[in-house]
Structure formats: C-alpha cells, structure tokens
C-alpha cells in the first residue's frame, strides 16, 4: 500500500495522480469492506468522527449526494476515526446514512498521509486515483462540482 503525501488537485495529469491506498476495514456490522471492490466508481472517502462537529454538519450533504448520484456511479464511503463503533451505529441511523461506514485505524490514517484533524475527504476517479483532497469542512457545492465532473468520464 502506498502513502499519500501532499494535497492533490483535479488539475493534475493522470500520471501524477496517486492511487488511493487500498484497505480492507470492518463495517459497523463487522463485514469487511475493501476499497478496491469499488474500482470503476467515483469514490468519495470521508474521514470523520461522531465527535467532530464539522463532520456532523457535512453528513446530510453526503447523504444527499449519494442519493442524487449513486446510480450514476458515485460511491461515498465513510471512514470513522472514532475509537469505538459504539457511538457510530446510532449516529448513522439518526442521520439516515445511505453509504457504507467502516472503522478506520491509525494505520489507515498514516497510509493516507496522516489524518491528524477532521474532517478530511479524498475524491478518487473511476481508476481509483486521488484527484482531490479536502481538509476541513468543505462546501457541498465544491464536492458536487468535482463529482459531476468525474462522473462524466466512463
């Protein structure tokens, strides 16, 4: 697995875009989820936690984006950085989260260049390459613009 360094942007050429490090992490029901199984989709990886206020504020927007663009090939994956899944389960129910959530680890964070503050979101193209990294709360319109641009490619 690779390690992601500096932030990336959508303008980078294809060769410059690093592959998103693959991971297999447990979902809230214990079933494993592998990032590589979503190759071919535009994936938004959301590193978040229940105790993170900006993360909570972003969640309804992600639910809406998944609802709106899921059938066109968008897959949002939440990577919870909570220390335990206990607060995550009721949170996902309360917010009607319609995308998979896995429990992240320190190793996952390090492989993505260090998740040392939340939220952090990575957007990958259909080839699994990271085209954008957003640190901190990000306007939903920014995500939507980037996602619709990526969904146009097959």
């Amino acid at each position: 697995m690779g390690r992601i360094g500096a932030p990336h942007n959508a303008a980078a050429s294809s060769k410059q875009k690093p592959l998103a490090p693959d991971f297999t992490l447990p979902q809230l029901d214990g079933q494993p989820l592998s990032l590589s199984s979503y190759r071919g989709k535009v994936v938004l990886l959301d590193f978040w936690a229940t105790w993170c206020v900006p993360c909570r504020e972003e969640t309804p927007h992600f639910v809406e984006l998944q609802q709106k663009y899921g059938d066109r090939g968008l897959q949002i994956i939440g990577i919870s950085m909570d220390d335990s899944p206990d607060p995550v389960r009721p949170f996902t129910q309360q917010f009607h989260v319609n995308y998979p959530v896995v429990m992240g680890t320190a190793k996952t964070g390090e492989e993505y260049g260090g998740v040392l503050g939340l939220p952090i979101a990575f957007l990958t193209d259909r080839d699994g390459r990271i085209v954008a990294k957003h640190i901190g709360a990000t306007d939903a319109a920014v995500f939507e613009r980037e996602i619709t641009g990526l969904l146009q490619t097959q």
Binding site: W51, M81, T105, G109, G114, L116, G117, I135
Partner: protein
Amino acid sequence: MKMGAVITRIVLILAAISFISMQAVGQWSSIPPGRLINPEDLVKILQSGKEKPLLLQVGSHILYAQAHIPGSEYIGAAQTDTGLQQLRKHVDSLPRTKFIVLYCGCCPWSHCPNVKPADDAMHAMGFTNVKVLYIANNFGTDWVDKGYPIAKGE
C-alpha cells in the same frame, strides 16, 4: 398581521444569527487567552533547559497513535465522562502548581469538544499552572506540517 409576520421573521433571523455566532465563537472565547499557549512557544520551552510541562493529549486515540508530541501521554477524550475521570485520576496526586499543558487538535479550535472540559476539570481541581495548546486548525496542520517534533505509536 403582515407586520406581525415581518417581526416574527426578523426575530427568527436574529436568533439564527445569534446561534451561529455562538457556535462559531465556541471555545475560543471561553478559555481565557492567558491560559493558552501557542505551538511555537511550547516548542521553545520543550527545546530549552527550562522546566518541561507535563503534556496530556485529551482527544482521539487514533489521532494520538498517528502522531503526538514526544513525551505526551494519552488520557482519553475529555468530552466523555470516561475521559474526564481518567484525566482526574491521572493528575490527582500531582502538586497543584505543576506545569501542565493540555492539547487535542482533532478539529478546528472553535469546534474542539475536548480542551474546554479538560481545562475546566483541571481548574476545578485547583491546578494553577495549566495551559491549553492553541491549535487553530488541527494537529496535522499546526504542528506536524510545521516540522515540530512528533512521536508515533500507542
């Protein structure tokens, strides 16, 4: 009736503005500036021959495992009862004049759920030389990316 509706709308708007302002100010205003310490000032102290503070991380364990200030100890998320109990237990036997620095860095300063409860608990116990590390954005941006010393692991 029309005038009543207008007044109601104005009141609602003012209430919303007030609520948002309170959210935005958050803990930034509720911990007195005299109890804060900036990262650069803490680094100077740590690199000097002066008395070193006891460094306590009161936030996320996953973030601590990825990177923390060398010599700092992980206590627990002070937003939780368990975290606060662990903090009180950890410092209970210490002299109340002990130089202690609390830090988290999980989120932007105004949204950090941990440093304020930790600071309140320490002062309620009578500690008189406690500082809270002012981390404006997150530990990654304001400490790691600036090249300040870090350690990894549990």
